[in-house]
Symmetry: C2
Subunit: 332 residues, 2 copies
C-alpha cells in the first residue's frame, strides 16, 4: 500500500442526528421496531419530531462516524457524502472537517435538505433510528471523487446507501476504482432490514467487490438467510477475504484466511448504543492500516465501541488515540 496519502476514505450518508430519550411506550405508540433503522419521508419526520421530547443534535451517519473515530485515533481520512447548503449541512461539514478529515463533496444548493436521523434512546440504551435521507438520497456516481478514492489504503462503504439505485451504482464504481488503485474495499452491512431489502446486491458485492465485511449477528444471518451465527460465519469465510462480525456484549469474531479469532467485548456502562458498530470498525480499520495484528485490531475496535456507548451520541467524546495508549493498545 505504498504512496497512499489516506488511510481510509469513507463513502456514506451525511446525516445530522437528532437524539432524544424516550420510554418503551413511545416506541409502541408510534409502531417503531426497537433497535432498527427505518427510512421515513419529510412528512413523517416532521410528525415524529413533533412528538419527540427535547433533543440534542450531533453529526452522524454510520461510515462518517467511523471516519470520525479513525481521525480520533490519528488516522488520515477522507469522506464522501452529500449534504444540502443548509444549517444542518453546515454542522456536518464543520464537525468532520474540524477533525482533519478531507471532506469536499459540494453541498447541493437546491432539492431536499440535509439528511437527518431521529434517534430515540430507551432507558436500556438501545437506539431506534428514523432516517429522512434528504440530500443524501441523490448520491450518484458523479459524486465520487476518484482521486481521493485512489489515494486511500482502504475505501469504506456504507450499506445504508444501498437503499438507492443511483448510490448502489456509485458503490460498484467506487469498488472498481478502489481495486484499480490497489485499495482494499471494506463494506458494512449496516442494518438487517436493509440487508433484507437488497440481499442479492449485498451478496454480489460481498462476493465480488468487498475485501473486508463488517456485520453484526442479525445482519450476517440475514445476508445468508441462516439461523445460526456459526453457519453465517462459515459462509462469510468462503465469500470474502475477511469478515468482522460483532455480537454486542458477546464480543466479536474475525474470520480471515481460514482462521477464526475471538475478541472479548470491553466492559462499559451502556448509556446509548448509537455508533457501537461504527466505532468498532473505526478501531479495527485503524489497527489494520497501522500494522496491528488481527487480534489487536479487534481489541482496538472493542475499546472504541465501549467509549461510544458510554455517552449520548455516536462520535467519540475523548481522544481515542489517548484511550488506546492508556490501555496499552498503542505505544506511548
Amino acid at each position: 500500500m505504498a504512496d497512499k496519502s489516506f488511510d481510509v476514505v469513507g463513502i456514506g450518508n451525511a446525516i445530522v442526528d437528532i437524539i432524544a430519550r424516550c420510554d418503551d411506550g413511545f416506541l409502541s405508540k408510534h409502531d417503531l421496531a426497537k433497535g432498527a433503522m427505518r427510512l421515513i419521508d419529510a412528512e413523517e419526520a416532521n410528525r415524529l419530531y413533533s412528538a419527540m421530547g427535547p433533543a440534542v443534535e450531533r453529526s452522524g451517519g454510520s461510515v462518517a462516524n467511523a471516519i470520525a473515530g479513525l481521525a480520533s485515533f490519528g488516522a488520515k481520512c477522507g469522506f464522501i457524502g452529500r449534504v444540502a447548503a443548509d444549517q444542518f449541512g453546515g454542522i456536518f461539514r464543520h464537525d468532520i472537517r474540524s477533525l482533519g478529515v478531507a471532506y469536499d463533496t459540494l453541498p447541493a444548493s437546491d432539492g431536499a435538505p440535509t439528511a437527518r436521523c431521529l434517534i430515540l434512546v430507551t432507558p436500556d440504551g438501545e437506539r431506534t433510528m428514523n432516517t429522512f435521507l434528504g440530500a443524501s438520497v441523490d448520491f450518484q456516481p458523479e459524486d465520487l471523487e476518484l482521486e481521493l478514492i485512489g489515494a486511500a489504503k482502504i475505501v469504506y462503504l456504507e450499506g445504508y446507501l444501498f437503499d438507492r439505485d443511483a448510490a448502489k451504482a456509485a458503490f460498484r464504481e467506487a469498488a472498481r476504482a478502489a481495486k484499480e488503485a490497489g485499495a482494499k474495499v471494506a463494506l458494512t452491512l449496516s442494518d438487517a432490514f436493509c440487508v433484507d431489502r437488497h440481499r442479492d446486491d449485498f451478496r454480489a458485492l460481498v462476493q465480488h467487490g468487498a475485501d473486508i465485511v463488517f456485520a453484526n449477528e442479525k445482519e450476517i444471518t440475514s445476508l445468508y438467510q441462516v439461523n445460526s451465527f456459526e453457519e453465517a460465519a462459515d459462509l462469510a469465510m468462503n465469500d470474502c477475504e475477511m469478515a468482522v462480525l460483532t455480537r454486542s456484549e458477546a464480543g466479536s469474531i474475525i474470520v480471515a484466511g481460514g482462521e477464526t479469532i475471538e475478541i472479548e467485548a470491553e466492559n462499559a456502562r451502556v448509556v446509548d448504543l448509537t455508533g457501537a458498530g461504527d466505532l468498532y470498525s473505526a478501531g479495527f480499520l485503524y489497527g489494520l492500516t497501522h500494522g496491528a495484528s488481527l487480534r489487536e485490531c479487534g481489541r482496538l475496535g472493542s475499546l472504541a465501541a465501549a467509549e461510544a456507548i458510554s455517552h449520548i451520541g455516536a462520535r467519540p467524546e475523548i481522544s481515542l488515540q489517548k484511550l488506546a495508549r492508556d490501555n496499552g493498545l498503542l505505544p506511548h
Copy 2:
C-alpha cells in the same frame, strides 16, 4: 396570585448553543475572556466556528434554559423570544414546546438567522460564550404577548436583552404590563460585562421595575461598582423586594424583607458550568410559585444547578421534579 394560568413566563434570547471542548490555549489564541459572554457578528461567528473542534448543538438562551428547568420541575410556563424561520429556529421551537411550554413567537421569515452561541468548555468546566444574536436582535415591544404576560404569576426577564435598545424598551413595557396584571417581575443580570455596558438602565430597572433580582457575585458588584459582595448585597436589599445572589461553589444568599438567608451549594462533579445560574433560578422560581419557604427555594435552585453542571449543555437531562422528590425537597 389568583386566576393565573402560568407560573412563569420568560422573555429572553432564543438561541441554539454550539458546544465544543477546547483547552486554555485556544482561549488565549483567540483572545477570549474565560467565563464571560461576548457578542460577535456573523463574520466572527463563522471564523470562530471554523477554528473550533467538533460540536454538539442544543437549545439554549439564559431565560429559556430557566424556563426549560421550570417545566422539568412541573411548572406551567410560557416563553417569548425571537427565532428565524430556519433549521436552528426549528430546533429551538421544538425543544421548548416539547416540554409543554407555551411558545408562540412568530419566526421571522426574513432578516438574520436564528441566534447561536458558540460555547467553549475548558477542562475545568468553565464556559466561554460567543453569541451571534441574529434574529434575537430585533426583539421589540410588538413581540410582547401581553395576554401571556398577564396570565403569569412571575414574568422573568433576561438581562442579555439589554444590549439592544428596542429590546430594552420592550422590557420596560413588559414590566409595566406585568405589574398592571398583578404579576411579579424577576430579572437576571446575566453577565458582568453586560451590566457594565448598561449599568444605569439596569439600576433603574432594579429600583423601579423588578421585584426579584438574580445575579452572581461579579454581576451584583459590577451593578453597584463596589468591591465586596456584602456591600453589594446591602445595596440590593434597599433597591428591591428580593435579591438572589449566587456564588458558585460557595452557595447562594437570599436577601429579602431585611433578612439574609444563606444556602449551601450542592456537591456536583463539574463537567460544564453552562446553565448553572439559569437552572438555579429555575429551582428558585419553582419553589416561589409553589408555596416553598425561601430556604427551600434556594435549595431547589442549588439542586437544579448541580444537575446542569454535571453534563455538557445547560438544560436538564433528567426530570428535576423526580430529582427534587428523591432529595426530599418535594413531596412524593
